[in-house]
Symmetry: C2
Subunit: 485 residues, 2 copies
């Protein structure tokens, strides 16, 4: 080993040079976010840039500034677009500069919040307490920050399975049961819940997808009939998943009615609140979510409508013991001690799948402190109002039609020049959507409702202004007419 | 809605003020990391500071500078300690300043790499290709960046279950099988694998923990006997988990021998390489990992020995189709389009549990470009050499003894003044460990091997110097003598 190798580290050889580079990054990032609305919402990565990502494993060190310049040239100009005021695709938040800075400080401290006695655990516990306050769960409920809604739902459904199956399911497995377990949700349930049920070994057949009403909420009569039918056939219903804010149309299932059914049939009440639960912050939405406080478990996604940078999911669980009993496993190398860094009251790794866990609590903590719940709620209320505004624009236009009732902040519409058959209409609207995106104008996404392809505008965006929707309508019609002509 | 509310966003009212704050953060972070070795490795959070984390949900906005000052006072001084040159607890990396800055830039762009056509997917694909190169998997293998080893192992085991159980397991569930599935690993297997098996509905009983040899590697004869016995009893073995670098002692299972057994019994070959797989970068360790390139799936943890900030796990899978078949689910709102932002070749959400996924690829990409594989490998080689150095110090001391063979970079030892019974020795070493931590000297962790409590030094640390281990030994003896006296 050379003397140089003996002492080399991954720290910069020249801290001042790295500090200068870091200041440059800050200036670039601030400028980038400040001017985001002036750029196209999306642009394709040029082929020449794509080529640069085909090079093999770098063997030798590169100059830090050169690495950053490569980032500036080949990466920074081509974001997904969800930071832009006219991005309304799928369902995502924008993020904020404070959220991004918090990620930097969190990674500087770089703690692992699997467990141990250090401040990050206190920050996470406080953030979880705030979330309990938001949704109305008792303070002795438990919770966990996770990667996102998929994981939050998986955690909730795991506890439902382990708690209600009876016996020691963790030890004996699903095959030890003498009857099959079933889970209920509407046909509009998010696909991650099906993935969770599959992962848990229950099989997607065990997820009973119940028909919806005209407003895309779960049909309660059909739900109850199916449960009764399943019980008579020897199945064991263990959980009903309610969705306040479905991904297609933002429909809100009747939470109180579902809570009642869960009581009646002794099943777990899980709320997939990835879209809607954080809307408890909004004075206008909160009344629509009555009953959420009765849930056994709730999935939230703070990287959606609370605009925390990815990833920031959260699961809350009424029964702390049930939660812990489903995930705690403490081998000899993770035993707690009475002092030192392995003490500490809560080991979050006992409440979920991950052992190593990043300090994602910090960005939530800083953003909550910076903006406060009222303002975060106003952002949500305004998006809901913007959805109604967009709906009125669509209804006023002879060329456009709503395809579903507007739920929360999600508007599904299509361009319809009249006297056109369904396949042609579907193809036309698909083309309009791609043009809207490729011309960098706006980025809605799409879905298909009753075979009708539609442009889907999911407005979880603190940067959107009312005039952005005027532009969307104007451009939809322009592109529609241009393609039809 | 007031005019102010009509236009308010979560962006700063004054971008220049926020820019100034961001520059302050950069200076503070650089200073923090530059001087980390001058501070105690760990210090408890004072009670008064703990109290501050009990306040309820903030309702009103707070000044950004005030929020940051609260962070500086109450959070920044109390990290877990794994950034420190003398942190050797559990198994974690240090992180780097470039990794932290990459997190900032990633969160500024804030893409969601669940899918879509944008540059972040290309970066992730490139990073995955580099990892295939590192472990020797073919270029047409698939992969996914995940939160960490727990998730990487879960993904690997899910594919093993779904691929080898036969039939449509995703649809029909585990209860549809006519025989029980079994998974094999040594008694030293990391606990997250048991959690994965439980989650998958197989039950922890189905994880056969095979006895180890004196060097803490899996006993191959006992492994084969158990498989044969299980087959004769009507079980279906589906997977053997090999561990190159066990968490207790860093033992490396014989990967080629296990690969042979997997071939012989037609089982999936999963490598839990959370600790050891990235040591393929090290010229001295690589020969010990021969056979890893034969794996069906490999879990890696780049936030460990590659020092990427949390979270940075990775799973690689030889059979892309098997991987995709286990996780792909494409509802109507996620259909791909031929152009626009919903095009793009790879949708990573089809390869794992998460739909929304952060841009964790960027920090890996920037760190790999900055340091190169050779230097990252030298960091690993030096830690292995430091473990041997520490071992020699222990063997030279009359007061200390090694409790297990040194595997890779993990040293398990205890203070033993002689003529002391086991319970007293265990208690004594527990006290020494807590003193080492509470005095801020060094942070090893602990484990118990054959009932013997030991101080466990896991040296995944690019900042550790040889003299840090001289200090550890000197202080262990000092504290041991002081407690014994």
């Amino acid at each position: 080993m050379s003397n140089e190798e003996y002492y080399e580290t991954l720290d910069p050889e020249d801290w001042d040079e790295m500090r200068g580079l870091a200041h440059q990054m800050v200036d670039d990032a601030v400028e980038y976010l400040k001017t985001v609305g002036d750029r196209p919402v999306w642009q394709a990565v040029p082929e020449a840039v794509k080529e640069t990502f085909k090079s093999g494993l770098p063997e030798q060190p590169g100059d830090a500034t050169a690495v950053y310049e490569e980032f500036l040239t080949n990466i920074f100009p081509y974001p997904l677009g969800n930071i832009h005021p006219r991005f309304w695709a799928w369902y995502m938040g924008n993020g904020t500069i404070m959220g991004a800075l918090a990620e930097f400080m969190a990674a500087t401290m770089n703690p692992n919040i699997g467990g141990g006695n250090h401040v990050a655990g206190l920050v996470e516990a406080q953030v979880l307490n705030w979330m309990k306050e938001v949704v109305g769960l008792p303070t002795d409920a438990s919770g966990l920050l996770v990667s996102g809604g998929s994981m939050a739902n998986l955690v909730g459904l795991t506890i439902a399975r382990n708690t209600l199956a009876g016996g020691d399911l963790r030890k004996n497995g699903v095959q030890s049961l003498d009857r099959k377990l079933t889970v209920y949700a509407s046909t509009e349930v998010h696909s991650c819940n099906q993935k969770a049920v599959e992962l848990l070994g229950l099989g997607s057949d065990s997820l009973r997808k119940i028909e919806i009403n005209d407003d895309y909420t779960i049909n309660l009569q059909k739900l109850e009939s199916k449960i009764v039918e399943d019980i008579q056939s020897g199945y064991q219903p263990i959980c009903i998943i309610a969705t306040p804010g479905t991904v297609n149309t933002g429909a809100i299932d009747d939470l109180n009615a579902i809570a009642d059914l869960c009581l009646k049939f002794n099943t777990w009440f899980h709320v997939d609140g990835a879209i809607g639960a954080i809307a408890m912050l909004s004075d206008t939405v909160r009344p629509l979510l009555t009953g959420i406080e009765r849930a056994d478990s709730i999935a939230l996604d703070l990287h959606k409508w609370m605009h925390v940078p990815f990833e920031a999911g959260c699961v809350l669980v009424r029964d702390e013991k049930a939660h812990r009993d489903s995930f705690s496993l403490t081998p000899e190398y993770l035993e707690k001690t009475e002092g030192g860094l392995a003490s500490g009251p809560v080991w979050f790794s006992e409440y979920g799948v991950q052992l190593s866990r990043s300090f994602r609590a910090l960005k939530i903590w800083m953003m909550m402190k910076e903006h406060g719940s009222k303002k975060l709620g106003r952002m949500i209320s305004r998006n809901v109002d913007q959805a109604q505004y967009l709906g009125r624009l669509i209804e006023k236009s002879a060329h456009l039609e709503l395809i579903a009732p507007i739920g929360l902040d999600i508007v599904c519409y299509r361009y319809n020049p009249g006297e056109t058959d369904l396949p042609t209409l579907n193809h036309l609207n698909r083309s309009i959507l791609i043009e809207l995106q490729e011309q960098g104008i706006a980025a809605p996404s799409y879905t298909t409702l009753n075979d009708r392809y539609c442009i889907r505008v999911a407005i979880a965006n603190h940067r959107s202004r009312y005039e952005d929707f005027d532009l969307l309508i104007e451009q939809t019609i322009r592109i529609g007419q241009s393609i039809s002509a």
